[in-house]
């Protein structure tokens, strides 16, 4: 709606931004979907031998981080800046722990190399692409955390916080599909 008062109102702008963000996620989901299909195409009903305990630990950390992300965003919506900063910090720490678990440990102890076979190729591609998204999410959260610390957001206006949170949940949901695809489905081949 082009009337100058409406189109420049924050609420209108916010709804527009939301649609843009969700379309971006839809687009991104196609890429992750392509990776998922690659896994099904090349691995079929088999899977590689991976460290189950480690897989469970990193998955739990990512899921729990989403809980703290939600707490943080709710705190912001209620004007509780301290709560927001605390929740976001926990999320960031858990996200970095997830990265350390996947890249620092799982990548090192995996029983195959990048170039060994299709197991290596798909495993490193899927986890790598997801880890890249977690990393960007962490950077995004750090920016938001820093700006919140300096009082840049208010109860009414905190679109960046919302966007970071939605993006974080999205990356989390992707892992909910990737974890079983990599660790659980199929016979060990």
């Amino acid at each position: 709606m082009t009337s100058n008062t409406v189109s420049e109102s924050y609420a209108h702008r916010l709804a527009t931004n939301r649609l843009g963000l969700w379309l971006f996620l839809l687009s991104d989901a196609f890429m992750f979907g392509g990776l998922f299909i690659t896994r099904v195409y090349l691995w079929g009903d088999t899977r590689p031998e991976l460290n189950q305990t480690l897989g469970l630990i990193v998955t739990s950390m990512l899921l729990i981080s989403s809980f703290f992300m939600n707490r943080a965003e709710t705190a912001m919506a209620h004007g509780d800046r301290k709560g927001f900063l605390r929740g976001t910090l926990v999320t960031i720490v858990l996200g970095i722990a997830f990265l350390a678990g996947v890249i620092g440990v799982e990548w090192q102890i995996a029983p195959f190399g990048v170039s060994e076979d299709a197991y290596g190729a798909v495993f490193f591609m899927m986890t790598g692409m997801h880890a890249f998204h977690v990393l960007t999410g962490v950077i995004f959260l750090l920016i938001v955390w820093n700006n919140a610390r300096r009082g840049r957001y208010s109860v009414e206006k905190h679109w960046a916080v919302e966007a970071a949170a939605v993006y974080w949940h999205f990356v989390d949901v992707v892992w909910i599909f990737f974890y079983p695809a990599l660790y659980l489905i199929g016979k060990v081949g």
Partner: protein, 621 residues
């Protein structure tokens, strides 16, 4: 007006300088990492890939596209409508938020890429006039056909973006796109993309064709990495641009402009954007996997290690087939938009035409494997994909019948844009009718990888995009520049290009039917194809000549053309309510939508008006 513009203050120039600094930095970074992990310091492939990526980011910083976002990340506030910093011609070389300037930027870059890709075609077409290799070797030939393909695709995507950027906000009564900064970013990322694509010429080229199938692409020279990078970047542009179009159409329509009162072009831009925003990811993924197989030795497409080359083809065609609908939907939308103006009759079956665009977009997602009938994929997949492909003819047929019914008993006039619209319809008919033989498995097994496909494809592209694009350029030229083009040169352009195209396309289909393989540098003289190949090449040169006339017309008329009247085509579309060229923030007041968009010839009917200022009313005869 701004201060005197000097060369170094242009965003483009700063971007290129930044890129020249960024690329060696990226290469140095790779070398340092390689040294740190104990690998030999220099390896050309990773150095060029990372160098290219860093160079592209540096370009975007240099051009000024990222500054606002950096400011935002650092906690700053951004104004919604910053005052235009640069005026005059210089703004076309700078980061700008005005969708009309960005549309023109896209258009000019598109025409430039068209010319380059066309030039490549002339070079290898001339080689094909005689059997034997005269002045190209096989590698050069292969690189040229590959680049012709991909640079053309880029040019078409740029042309699509040019039209949808310039027209969509105007037609729905918005003052700009929903995300102007993203819009500008999506344009400028194409510049490094084009540089990478063309730089592959100097890095060994690539002999895979634009499809880049493994295993060939895994073994191709270094040039293929630059090709991948280039596609990656313009794919990103395509995704972000499409996202912007969708949000703009959904959120920024003028009050009263319901979906079924939007100009039909907006419908096609919307349907196009739905494809671009989603499917593009898959071509990027497929190319990235080949890139990684080359860089890290990952075995995606190596059967010896449990990989499968067919996976690439599935992922690749999941985008690359819908991509042709990205091209033609925009073109067909332009035809439906312009035809009623020159026929002075309502567009027949407006709703059906609107929905048919969505139909084509939707079906387009389920047809990709018709490119793979001979690939060795599971045979049971052939028939379903045959039927889904044939189904595309239904919504396409809706458009055809609508055009014919719109023209029926209309008061046609034949100005240059109308000539191109009619040319587009007839050429697209040939392109469309030559489609089903490729979709039906039995005939495709014979036609696959022959020149018949080349002829079919060029007919769909010329009818579905090139001719409508030309029509659009002529039609909106007075809107963009405020001046009129030379009608005589425009007609000359048409009457050279139109017959030459038919000679070229029918010639290609003809030799294809008789067994000329596509993508080959040489053929057996006993086949007797020298004469038809000679004809096709001459026709190609005539097309090139006509395009040269087109360029001369554009450049000359932009400077010297007579000042255009307010609404030279008596169009009802809202952009013609505004002065030409259009001021920076389009509409001084919100539009009022009071009628139907295509009621041409209905006395006294009105589509839109700007309250108390301007109105376009159908006159009494």
């Amino acid at each position: 007006m701004s201060k005197k513009t000097n060369f170094l203050s242009l965003g483009l120039v700063r971007g290129v300088f930044a890129m020249l600094v960024g690329m060696p930095l990226g290469m140095g970074l790779v070398t340092l990492i390689r040294l740190a992990v104990g690998l030999p310091a220099w390896n050309a492939e990773p150095a060029w890939v990372v160098g290219g990526l860093v160079g592209a980011v540096a370009f975007m910083i240099g051009v000024g596209s990222l500054s606002d976002w950096f400011k935002l990340a650092a906690g700053g506030e951004l104004p919604e409508h910053p005052a235009g910093a640069v005026n005059g011609w210089a703004r076309y070389f700078n980061f700008t938020l005005d969708h009309k300037v960005i549309g023109v930027q896209y258009g000019v870059l598109s025409l430039l890429m068209f010319s380059i890709a066309g030039l490549f075609a002339l070079i290898f077409r001339t080689e094909l006039v005689q059997t034997g290799l005269q002045y190209l070797n096989a590698d050069e030939f292969n690189t040229l056909i590959s680049l012709h393909g991909i640079v053309m695709i880029m040019a078409i995507l740029l042309g699509v973006a040019a039209m949808s950027n310039y027209l969509t906000p105007l037609m729905i009564g918005a003052n700009d796109m929903a995300f102007p900064r993203l819009n500008s970013f999506a344009f400028w990322i194409n510049v490094p993309s084009g540089i990478f694509l063309l730089s592959s010429l100097f890095l060994g080229g690539f002999d895979t064709g634009w499809t880049g199938y493994p295993p060939l692409s895994v073994r191709a020279p270094l040039g293929i990495q630059m090709f991948f990078l280039g596609v990656y970047l313009f794919g990103l542009s395509s995704i972000l641009g499409a996202l912007n179009i969708i949000v703009t159409v959904v959120r920024l329509r003028a009050p009263g402009m319901t979906f079924f009162r939007m100009p039909i072009f907006v419908w096609s831009a919307f349907a196009t954007a739905l494809i671009s925003a989603t499917a593009t990811q898959l071509i990027a993924l497929s190319f990235q996997m080949v890139m990684f197989q080359r860089l890290f030795g990952m075995g995606f497409f190596d059967p010896a290690r449990g990989g499968n080359v067919l996976l690439f083809q599935h992922l690749f065609w999941f985008y690359s087939h819908p991509a042709v609908y990205v091209f033609v939907l925009t073109g067909l939308g332009t035809i439906s938009e312009l035809l009623p103006v020159f026929v002075r009759k309502p567009l027949f079956g407006y709703r059906w035409v609107a929905v048919s665009s969505l139909g084509i977009a939707l079906i387009g997602f389920f047809v990709w494997a018709h490119h793979m009938f001979t690939s060795g994929m599971s045979e049971f997949l052939r028939v379903p994909f045959m039927y889904s492909t044939l189904l595309v003819a239904v919504p396409t047929g809706v458009k055809f019948f609508s055009w014919v019914a719109t023209m029926w008993r209309g008061k046609m006039s034949f100005e240059t844009p109308m000539l191109f619209v009619l040319g587009a319809i007839s050429i697209f008919l040939v392109g469309g009718l030559s489609g089903p033989p490729n979709a039906v498995v039995a005939t495709d097994l014979h036609l696959h990888d022959t020149y018949f496909i080349v002829g079919h494809f060029h007919a769909t592209m010329f009818g579905g995009f090139v001719f409508p694009f030309m029509a659009a350029v002529y039609f909106w030229f007075p809107k963009v520049t405020g001046r009129m083009f030379n009608e005589r040169l425009g007609k000359l352009h048409f009457w050279l290009m139109f017959p030459a195209f038919f000679v070229q396309s029918f010639g290609q289909m003809f030799i294809g039917l008789f067994g000329m393989r596509r993508r080959i540098a040489d053929y057996d003289p006993a086949l007797g194809f020298e004469q038809p190949n000679w004809l096709i090449t001459i026709a190609g040169m005539v097309i090139a000549l006509s395009v040269l006339i087109f360029f001369i017309n554009l450049v000359y008329s932009t400077k010297r053309g007579p000042v255009a009247v307010a609404n030279p085509w008596r169009s009802r579309s809202p952009e013609w309510l505004l002065p030409s060229p259009i001021p920076e923030h389009n509409y001084p007041q919100p539009l009022e939508i009071v009628g139907e968009p295509y009621d041409y010839g209905l006395v006294g009917s009105v589509f839109v008006r700007i309250p108390s200022t301007a109105v376009i009313e159908e006159p009494v005869k």
